[in-house]
């Protein structure tokens, strides 16, 4: 075992129905973010910048296409050389699983063993941060305990009911954990567990081997959660920018926050870069008729219309006199003449026809499914989303 050698496990098997229809065909960590990123780019970049040369990624089965399309050879994250490797595991739900072979534990254990690492980093799928993992590793080494967890003080409205709140003593030890839905309501800020921890690899192998004997199947996430309760655990406070994405509203807000230049600069212009897939797109063209303010635009767009306080992803076309405001537009969508898009999330490859309005509200942004062709107005009032309208609007 090499000193300090670290391997990383990124697990994205927690499905979140609250993010539908955006997560219909893609795992949470493959959600586009800020025009040119996918959420997983952040954790991959965190891992790479900490000189971790091996990554094990776990996704649900059936999500293969978007995952492989994005990661591909792993070149953009420097995962395609002899010393740098990645592995992918596709997780089977209980129903599909063949009880004869407990593939999940076996392959994780085998991975950690083969990685020959001293430490293992674990990361979940829905929190975006620009974290220096080598610092976490240093703190972990100093304490010489089994687990160190990463948390951030977050306002309660930015915490999901299923999130975990840490009870931390003055000296930085974790005293206990609670589910956010049971947490005390008076607190304005809580210690949100970022679903990131670093553990000793030997210890994790032991734990997983123990759990392997059990009848019912738990994920690594569950194993670690259980260990935080029972073992000595130190907490590392992250003070940088964090987005916790767990439903449409939080997804919308997190993206929109990137239009706040201080948050944008803190997450994306820091000395630690966020690496993304190479899309090799031409620069974006702004026509004489365009008016674009307070917005972020990816490469390869053609803008003839108006864009205000919005995020445009790669290859968006905005025709003359169309107006996009307070919206997220994913790659390769076209907004035709005189169309109006406001408080909306357009998934990839959406076409909004001439003169059509797609309008949501700040509290309830309207979501247009991937590949949908919108030919008549869709105005969403406050209150609940009309599921049928969204899910069947496609052609």
């Amino acid at each position: 075992m090499k000193t300090n050698k670290t391997c990383a496990i990124i697990a994205d098997i927690k499905k979140m129905d609250t993010l539908l229809p955006l997560t219909n065909r893609r795992p949470v960590s493959l959600l586009p973010f800020d025009g040119i990123y996918r959420m997983i780019d952040f954790n991959l970049s965190n891992v790479i910048d900490a000189d971790i040369h091996s990554i094990y990624m776990i996704f649900n089965q059936g999500m293969t296409q978007s995952v492989i399309d994005h990661i591909n050879g792993g070149k953009e994250w420097n995962l395609n050389s002899l010393p740098n490797r990645y592995f992918m595991h596709f997780f089977q739900g209980l129903k599909e699983r063949n009880p004869e072979e407990d593939h999940y534990y076996d392959s994780v254990i085998e991975y950690i063993q083969k990685s020959d690492s001293e430490f293992t980093v674990f990361m979940g799928n829905k929190m975006l941060c620009n974290l220096d993992l080598s610092q976490v590793r240093n703190v972990h080494k100093m304490h010489r305990e089994d687990i160190t967890v990463v948390y951030k003080k977050m306002p309660q409205e930015k915490i999901a009911p299923e999130d975990i709140i840490l009870d931390i003593s003055d000296n930085g030890k974790v005293k206990g954990i609670t589910s956010a839905q049971n947490a005390i309501v008076e607190n304005e800020v809580d210690n949100l567990f970022m679903n990131i921890c670093i553990v000793k690899s030997d210890w994790l192998i032991q734990e997983l081997t123990k759990w392997r004997q059990n009848e019912d199947i738990a994920t690594i996430e569950d194993v670690l959660k259980d260990a935080i309760k029972t073992k000595t655990t130190w907490a590392f406070e992250y003070t940088g920018y964090l987005s916790n994405i767990f439903d449409i509203k939080s997804y919308y807000d997190a993206n929109m926050e990137m239009l706040d230049s201080s948050k944008f600069l803190s997450l994306l212009h820091s000395s630690k870069k966020i690496y993304m897939k190479n899309i090799n797109e031409v620069p974006t063209y702004y026509a004489k008729t365009s008016r674009v303010n307070g917005s972020q635009v990816a490469a390869g767009c053609l803008v003839y219309g108006n864009v205000e306080h919005s995020l445009l992803s790669t290859g968006t076309i905005v025709k003359e006199n169309a107006t996009i405001s307070d919206s997220i537009v994913m790659a390769k969508s076209t907004i035709k003449k005189d169309a109006v898009v406001k408080y909306a999330i357009l998934d990839k490859n959406v076409v909004i026809e001439e003169g059509v309005s797609v309008i949501g509200t700040p509290e309830n942004p309207i979501v247009i499914k991937k590949n949908a062709h919108i030919v008549e107005d869709m105005i969403q009032m406050e209150e609940q989303v009309d599921e049928s309208l969204i899910l069947h609007s496609g052609v």
Partner: protein, 380 residues
């Protein structure tokens, strides 16, 4: 394995007419169009024409060029049957092998070409902006059973005396070649793109080198000699956008033309993508005060000023109140608050300070790479 075609890109020229812009950088590595370098067009043409073995001959200030090329991976030239080799001058038993002309550069790299063992050698220069299917030219070369095919383009008659002019018969066979003729007989200009049958060129160069060693340049020496000795030399007529960006004025002009989405280069054509080295930059940010018209803006830019008919390259910043018109801002450059940039090229990582004025009049103004004009207050 024997290769059918090997492309040799001549990228060693100094490009002295680009002044400050090529002070410490080879001409083919000069940035273009917001995120490219000039050589990207030639390299992308090779890939798109199914030519996957490329030698790049470098000589003058190769640092930036070399790091841009790397092992060719950005263009997919690092595969099992593809390869990009950077060829630089070297010392050898029989003296130093510096390159004294286009043909001489090929002669000095004969060992490399022999190793690749191609049937045809495609000679390209790395300092033109164009998209061209070399495969079509090769097909014509084979059809005509030519020994040498020279790609030509029609230029305006009054400009013809600036070029090497090909006089052809009705079958496009070249009967005469005149380098920069005073009274051109026609307007078919050589584009500096040649396909040679390697076996013959190799023999030809070895023989003439032993005789007089004067075959330094393709245009001046090799082509006239081929024609005189009765070799089958044909012209391949190319029609399309082609720009020699050898001067500040023409580089600026080509950039200005590049802005137009209707540009003949058709860079948004998915079947003919122009590829460049991947650069990690966040999305571009246009703030509340930004006003951008008729312009191209690249990734990583931060614009809060006014931009009109200009190219803003990767990671450049245009601060509040600045006015950029008819200009090219190269990557990483900063234009300070209330500064004015008009009809200018601002080099990579250059700084135009707050309230500074860079104005081109008759001639396009140039701020060199990393040059600093005035002071730019840095609060972000």
């Amino acid at each position: 394995m024997k290769k059918e075609v090997l492309a040799m890109i001549l990228a060693g020229g100094k490009g002295s007419r680009l002044g400050k812009l090529t002070q410490n950088i080879a001409k083919p590595a000069v940035p273009f169009g917001g995120r490219y370098r000039i050589i990207d067009f030639t390299l992308s043409n090779c890939i798109n024409s199914n030519i996957s073995n490329v030698g790049v001959v470098t000589q003058y200030e190769p640092l930036v060029l070399n790091s841009h090329l790397g092992n060719g991976d950005s263009w997919g030239l690092d595969g099992i049957n593809s390869d990009l080799t950077v060829l630089q001058p070297f010392s050898a038993n029989d003296g130093s092998k510096w390159f004294e002309g286009t043909a001489h550069a090929i002669f000095q790299n004969m060992d490399y070409i022999d190793r690749m063992d191609p049937e045809y050698v495609l000679i390209l220069s790395g300092d033109h902006i164009y998209t061209m299917d070399y495969e079509k030219m090769l097909e014509e070369h084979k059809e005509k059973k030519a020994s040498l095919t020279v790609s030509v383009i029609e230029v305006p008659m009054d400009e013809a005396s600036r070029f090497g002019i090909m006089n052809t018969d009705k079958n496009n066979r070249v009967i005469e070649f005149e380098e920069k003729p005073e009274n051109p007989k026609n307007n078919l200009a050589s584009m500096g793109i040649y396909i040679f049958n390697w076996a013959y060129l190799r023999e030809f160069m070895l023989t003439t080198h032993q005789k007089d060693g004067e075959m330094l340049d393709f245009g001046k020496h090799v082509i006239p000699s081929y024609i005189n000795s009765g070799e089958r030399v044909y012209a391949y007529r190319f029609a399309g956008y082609w720009k020699d960006v050898g001067t500040v004025e023409s580089l600026w002009q080509a950039n200005m033309e590049f802005i137009d989405p209707e540009n003949e280069l058709n860079i948004r054509d998915r079947n003919w993508r122009i590829t460049t080295r991947h650069r990690v930059s966040p999305p571009q940010f246009l703030t509340e005060t930004a006003q951008v018209d008729e312009s191209l803006v690249s990734s990583g830019c931060y614009v809060s000023g006014n931009v009109n008919h200009s190219i803003i390259s990767t990671d450049a910043q245009i601060r509040e109140g600045a006015q950029v018109t008819d200009s090219v801002i190269m990557s990483g450059a900063r234009v300070g608050k209330n500064a004015i940039v008009y009809r200018a090229i601002i080099g990579e990582n250059a700084v135009v300070g707050d309230n500074a004025v860079v104005e081109g009049k008759e001639e396009v103004a140039v701020v060199g790479n990393s040059e600093v004009i005035g002071v730019c207050n840095d609060e972000d």
